[in-house]
Amino acid sequence: MIRFSRSVFFIFATVGFGVFGSVRAADSPRNDASLVDRSASSEANSSNSEAPAPIRSMHPKFKMLDKLGKPVVRSGAPISTMRTCGACHDAQYIEAHNYHASAGWDERVEIGKALDGRPWDLGPGLFGRWDPLSYGPSGPDLEVRDWLMKMGDRHVGGGPARASGVELDCFLCHIASPDMNARREALKSGSFDWVNTATLASTRLVKKEVDGWKWNASRFSSEGEPIGDETIPRLSTSKNCGLCHGLVADASKPVVLPTNSRVWGLETKGQIFSPQRLKDSGLNLVGKDLLSRSFDVHAERLLECSSCHNTINNPAFFSGTARDRPKHLVFEPRRLDLGEYLARPDHDLAKGNTVQGTSARRFAGTMRRCENCHNPAAGHDWLPYSRRHMRAMNCETCHVPRVYAPARSQTDWTFPDRSGEPRVAYRSAEGDPHRVSTPLAGFDPVLLPRIEHDGSRKLTPYNLIVTWYWTAGDPPAPVDLNILKQAIYQENDYRPEVKAILDDDRDGKVEAAEERLDTAAKAEVVAGVLKALGLRNPRIRGEIQPYGLHHGTTSGEFATRRCVDCHGERSRLTKPIDLSEYVPGGAGAKPVVVADANVIWNGELAVDRSGRLSYEPRPTASSYYIMGRDRRRFVDSAGIAVDLVALLGVLIHGGLRFRAARKAK
């Protein structure tokens, strides 16, 4: 049955690719050895001349139109995707069925009622949920324009942004090389009307000149259709997704880390979606020669993001969700007509049940999970009690054994530097991860029980990021970074009272290691200044956000597979994870966990003598019993006592007998 559904899945996946005009069937031989004329060999060894020519794309030529429906090349106005793409596709529908566009706008709640427990949040989505990584905007008077300027480069347009002039940017996901930098610049400069036009900057259709964007008439037909095929839409590839979501790299050149910290998937999870083997990458990995696994086995096996995160009414993928399909059905054969799908593709992409993507929770679990493509029974006959293991854990627990790229562990906003940037710490990296020379050792994710759809709990690997920041007021809200900077710095130096308390070694200078509020006394001084600046009740708040690790999977060969990795004293299941080197506000301050994370916090936060904060999971507390590790200690103590008594009795008795026997002689 499973095999059948898989093959059908494959057929439909193939249809899906065909519809979008796959460019996979590339026809040009690429060979470094082509030192001499290859024309003679181009027909080499092919007796099969009937092979049809590869399909380029079935997408027709289209006119690029402005808001009024006039060809842009004539009007010179910015492109309107709603008009251009909307000429054939139901663009209104696509925008309305698109949580990438709504970004939580439709899920806004009354202030203080957000599920994550922050009193200043407006909802679960990108719009309205405070972003601890970027000190992101939130609060009751959040303006769409301000939000767009700060967060717009993580938003596809449309939804709340449409009113400000940023339409849903179809090109960002559906052309081969959208220009993210030009788009970002247009957003930052506030020229919202031109944002989607800027996305096309990498094509030859449009160019930014001193007096604004100019369409290149020579690249358009007289009808206003682009001549080249750079803008022929295609199924969005992983590279398109990577523009906002993280580091996606093919194997054409060694993968290297970005030099900034705005690559979210990498920053929060250390994940790199690439088929490349770790040892072939440009990362400075410890013991690199032996790391012959790829960054992600699904990337290695030619999957794209859209292979799992498909549009949910895509007839090539549709199977009914595991949630609402009747139990007796393995495969749902009823299909949406292809034409209808192309007119109204539902752009709510299938998603899993992650803790970080809190918007559009209503779509959680619409994605095919591991077991919907894989048959776990087929490869795990070596694993004792495999059903028990699979009931207790998600596949990722063993198949994401280690993360190699640096992921953030701490963001400390309590003591920003002069440019307002937080102090950030990373896992895996022994130093600044943005420097090529920093060795990367990798890190073991922490394993936490996750609450699944069906209410069961399964261990799942996570990265934890702790964020520290000042809040003030009533209801509390994050302190404005500019006010905070005023409280710490003046002119070219620190405020004297701040400097005095920071200078631990009394040498008159504040070294890098001293630029932190790691005691209650230091926090108090800054709090005092903040109060003097007019803030009420300034406090340091720490919060932990778990980030589920569902990418960066590896095949069985490299997965955790030794029994003792979990069944033993040094079990992976109870391995603590470091959160921060120090605790802002002193060891007494404990961070809180965001309330909308669907994981069970059964462990303990501990601060060791050097002030390091770590979290130790205690699966036993959630009635996990790990054979080989867990035991009721008193049973063994009592058992040893009983056995010792028996042994002692026997020895005494024997001794006495021996003595008696000697006497009798």
Partner: protein, 214 residues
């Protein structure tokens, strides 16, 4: 001294098979409980052996029950209904005092009564309480690991494991005393020899044990 055929071949096989099973079960159980102390790499193997031997031990016990019931040998294990206490006290007295003085065993062993009252009560407890307890908890744990979905949640692996472990500690205590008491025959090895070959030399109850030396 007289030679008597005390243990039938089957009884001996049953006994030694059981002994081997229990010893191996205790060893593999130790690996499962403390893998990092007792051979890390063999965790998987230890579990396999433990499961198989557990089942075999259970099977062996049922076979023995069948044998003892059908041959009537079960009577050997049943305590005398009436003055059991008196008899047990007499045997205990022997262990506490008589044995040092070289007194004769209070009960003469023979094909019709192989066990003294203390043995009877001990074996009754071991075979009818401890062994079934171990079997039951072991099977339950195995079942819960194997088919977690078919067991109600009030079965808790942690508690089952604790009971199972406690049982094995008691088994260990029994083993210590049991092995020690085999040395209380005419010579320290007489009783073990009897359990191996079947024939025993039974002392004459009127003569003191004269060969006792160690």
């Amino acid at each position: 001294m007289k030679r008597v055929y005390l243990y039938t071949l089957y009884e001996r096989i049953w006994h030694w098979f059981q002994a081997a099973c229990i010893l191996t079960l205790m060893a593999t159980g130790a690996v499962m409980r403390r893998p990092e102390w007792f051979g890390l790499a063999d965790f998987h193997t230890a579990i396999t052996i433990h499961n198989v031997l557990g089942l075999l031990l259970t099977g062996n016990a049922f076979l023995a029950l069948f044998y003892h019931l059908t041959t009537g040998e079960i009577r050997q294990f049943l305590p005398e209904p009436r003055d059991f206490i008196t008899l047990a006290v007499r045997q205990a007295n022997y262990y506490v005092r008589g044995i040092f003085r070289g007194d004769p065993h209070p009960f003469e062993r023979g094909p019709m009564h192989k066990l003294n009252p203390l043995q009877k009560i001990t074996y009754l407890v071991i075979l009818n309480l401890l062994l079934p307890l171990q079997t039951a908890t072991g099977l339950l744990m195995w079942g819960m690991e194997h088919r977690p979905e078919s067991f109600p949640s009030f079965f808790d692996l942690g508690s089952l494991a604790a009971i199972h472990a406690a049982g094995s500690w008691l088994f260990a205590a029994f083993l210590i005393v049991h092995i020690y008491l085999t040395t209380t025959g005419p010579t320290p090895l007489t009783l073990i020899r009897a359990m191996i070959v079947g024939w025993d030399e039974i002392e004459d109850s009127h003569e003191p044990a004269s060969e006792s030396h160690s």
